[in-house]
């Protein structure tokens, strides 16, 4: 038994310290949970010879980890799936500004931090999914309209405390001010078909099954269902339509997946190279095809399913802006009962 224990202990040490060994490497703290991301790291290593070490976790906790590790933190790059988390990390002083002509030339200004602390690498739009047999696209117009009593008992949306809804409500606050945003949330809650449950995919399935008529969801969930090879998911996709709200005014709310270089990065050059690689046509093509996000590189076309939705107008509000209103948004959720 004791021999086994000492073998295991040795193994643990080797595992623990293996990360500190090789020379050309970059350490990524990844808040994205897409298993397909591994291919991106392989692609980067192939292109540059730099080894990529990864820890995945929830962005909030990764931020805590970087803070706790202090100046010794091995983290070089932090990646998250929501602008709010990037904004939070920036406020906590975790990132360093990066000035890269490569990044600035590719990414539109609304999708990166004005000071260069972080940049978007892919986007997702929050759209309205509707039941084709019960709703005509002509009846739909804006996010604001979903709070109108005519939708009473018909609106489906996930929990208000979820980051996607906090960001959307943050954008409402930035556009209309806190009082109007709260009135909107109150109206929306009054129209719920059921208390919020499950994720975005569940809302889409509930629309198809007739539990409600309209749902607020992110584009890649819709695209994934439409592209599914499973008969039951195909059946769901057949029953629903996709509507991009606010096309006649400010445009549809768009959130980002993004990355920033950590202030204490030991491999800063490699970190910048990695971020630039994520914006390259090769990596953008891969992101577009596997996680079904919109590429931020204008030279790369979205996945065919997303492209079929047609071009749409994007709300130009900077992601840092709506991200900053998240704490206020959460208090609105509490006061209006958007659980």
């Amino acid at each position: 038994m004791s021999r086994l224990a000492s073998m295991l202990a040795t193994g643990a040490l080797v595992l623990g310290f293996a990360a500190a060994a090789s020379a050309q490497e970059v350490n990524v703290y990844n808040g994205r949970h897409y298993s397909t991301d591994t291919e991106l790291w392989t692609g980067f290593t192939k292109a540059t010879g730099i080894k990529v070490n990864v820890i995945e976790g929830d962005a909030d906790q990764l931020i805590q980890r970087i803070k706790s590790e202090g100046s010794n933190s091995p983290a070089d790059v932090l990646i998250t799936v929501d602008a709010g988390r990037l904004g939070f990390a920036a406020r906590e002083g975790i990132f360093q500004p990066v000035r890269s002509a490569g990044i600035d030339a590719i990414v539109p200004a609304s999708l990166r931090d004005p000071d260069g602390l972080w940049t978007g690498i892919a986007t997702r739009a929050r759209v309205i999914v509707f039941a084709k047999d019960r709703v005509k696209p002509g009846e739909l117009s804006t996010y604001e309209d979903l709070a109108d009593p005519k939708w009473k008992g018909k609106v489906l949306v996930r929990s208000g405390t979820h980051i996607y809804n906090l960001s959307l409500t943050g954008a409402m606050i930035a556009t209309h001010g806190e009082a109007k945003a709260e009135a909107w949330a109150r109206g929306l809650v009054a129209n719920f078909a059921r208390p919020p449950k499950g994720g975005d995919t569940d809302q889409i399935k509930a629309v198809a099954a007739g539990e409600g008529d309209v749902a607020l969801v992110n584009t890649y969930y819709v695209a994934r269902l439409i592209g599914s090879s499973k008969p039951d998911e195909k059946a769901v996709a057949d029953k629903i339509g996709v509507f991009f709200p606010n096309q006649r005014d400010r445009g549809t709310h768009v959130n980002i997946s993004g990355a920033g270089v950590v202030k204490t990065a030991k491999n800063k050059d490699n970190a910048v190279k990695l971020v630039e690689y994520l914006l390259s046509p090769e990596a953008q093509r891969y992101l577009a095809d596997t996680s079904m996000e919109f590429p931020v590189n204008p030279k790369v076309q979205p996945h065919g399913i997303l492209a079929a939705f047609g071009d749409f107008k994007v709300d130009p509000l900077n992601a840092a802006k709506f991200a900053g209103y998240q704490p206020e948004a959460l208090k609105i959720m509490d006061r209006t009962g958007w659980k």
Partner: protein, 554 residues
Amino acid sequence: MSIPAAPRFSFAPRRGALAQGVALVIALLAATPLLALVLRSFTPTDGLWAHLASTVLPEYVANSLLLALCVGLVAGVLGTATGWTIAMYRFPGRDLLAVLLLLPLAMPAYILAFTYTDWLQFAGPVQTWLRGLMGWRRGDYWFPDIRSLGGAIFVLGVVLYPYTYLLARAAFAEQSASAIEASRMLGRGPCRTFFSVALPLARPAIAAGMTLAVMEALADFGAVTYFGVPTFTSGIFRTWFALANPAVAAQLSMALLATVLAAVLLERFSRGDARRHVTVDRGRRAAAIRLKGAGALLAMLCCALPVLAGFVVPALVLVDLVFETDLPLTLAQSVGFAGNSALLALLSGLLVVAVALFASHAVRQRAGVLPVVATRIAMLGYATPGAVVAVGILIAIGGFDAGVDGLSRALFGVGTGLVLGGTLVAILYGHLVRFFAVAQGALDAGYARIGPGLDAAARTLGRTAFGTLRDVHLPLLRGSLLTAGILVFADVMKELPLTMILRPFNFETLAVAAYQRATTERLDEAALPALLIVLVGLVPVWLLARQLGRQVRG
């Protein structure tokens, strides 16, 4: 509580001091992450308490209380009923059911939550089938909503009852024939014998099992979040991250733990010193009663239903999902992840059991109230959400690493970098804090069976406290040690947040792989890693079943 006769031994004061010291160190180790969190959180509270109290807090408190109480009850009743049936009766399938009843131990609650949702929701197969069969549409019929407080109670109840079953069954099986037979002779029927003799004798074991269920229910984050039930624990998270206020989050955590500590101590001291030592009387157990006909059927149902609900149905849903999808993991990945999971579970099992043994031993020295309270404090980690423990450990270990690094720079001019951060040591520490209670519960139950006379005899024969532990307790505790280790192993296999946030680079486990897919709403792809967690978890459960069989026969 200190024993007045103690001064008779010349080494008594030192012995007491040692026991108190050991207990104190363990309690400190366990409390450090939480204390670190509290000390770190100096953010102003910005009237957040008023906001929370006037909006969501009442619902959090109500939901958490209801959840904890009902899960405790469900787990207690299921565990006691099945434990009693298996221990006292013989019926067809009894030996098999005795093993099967342990299977839900291998099933993580969050996986149960998503399999049942997939199966029972409006758009799922059961309701779709019903609608097709009856020609119903939405609103034509009532169907229980699995994504509700009731659903959460059900899911947590059916995975947490095995703790009570395990401890209650052993307690019932050990009750000497004389007590039960005396009751029968005095004209009490099986029902009154159960309630007036067997149940009070087994109360410490049942209470220990229920305490574990209640604590785990309070700490649960995965299942309640998936069901959209706002509880105190989910409140801690949103306050912390979305409201970006760690101070209030830490205060909420402390409030939760204070409540749990009060409840645990209340239970412990309400039993007072009324210890019920049952002599180890191997030859004479109450004869099992053979059941036939309706009675046998009832017994089979009583033991089969929890297994169906807590294991068979969700396992079948998982298998079905696996076959529906292209395999999301290669064979090499599966083996690698499973290996990492098992390695962690094994190391944590050894560590946690060793520490719990020292703690139990310290309590046994009867060196006053301190060791009792200290171990109860150490048990609170089980009621603390894994992510809260994890961030506490990040802060504590971060402080330690920075201190060592600074010292080394000052003395030698060279920094050490991170010493513990990002190593398995951090995760093991986390598991110690989180799962100490599980091992401690099992060992306490084992120690209760060793009469104090044996200690006295050993001491008279010149054994020191440590010598008694080594030569007398350890051989007698072998079964309990194994049980404790296996329970910790099973818990670590299912554990997610601690491992995820504290792990080294490129270190994947099955639970992380399952979560990664479930959280991006690819439930079908999460099914394979989930099923592997269950399969690897079955190994210790099988060992446990063998161990129990040996104990009962022995």
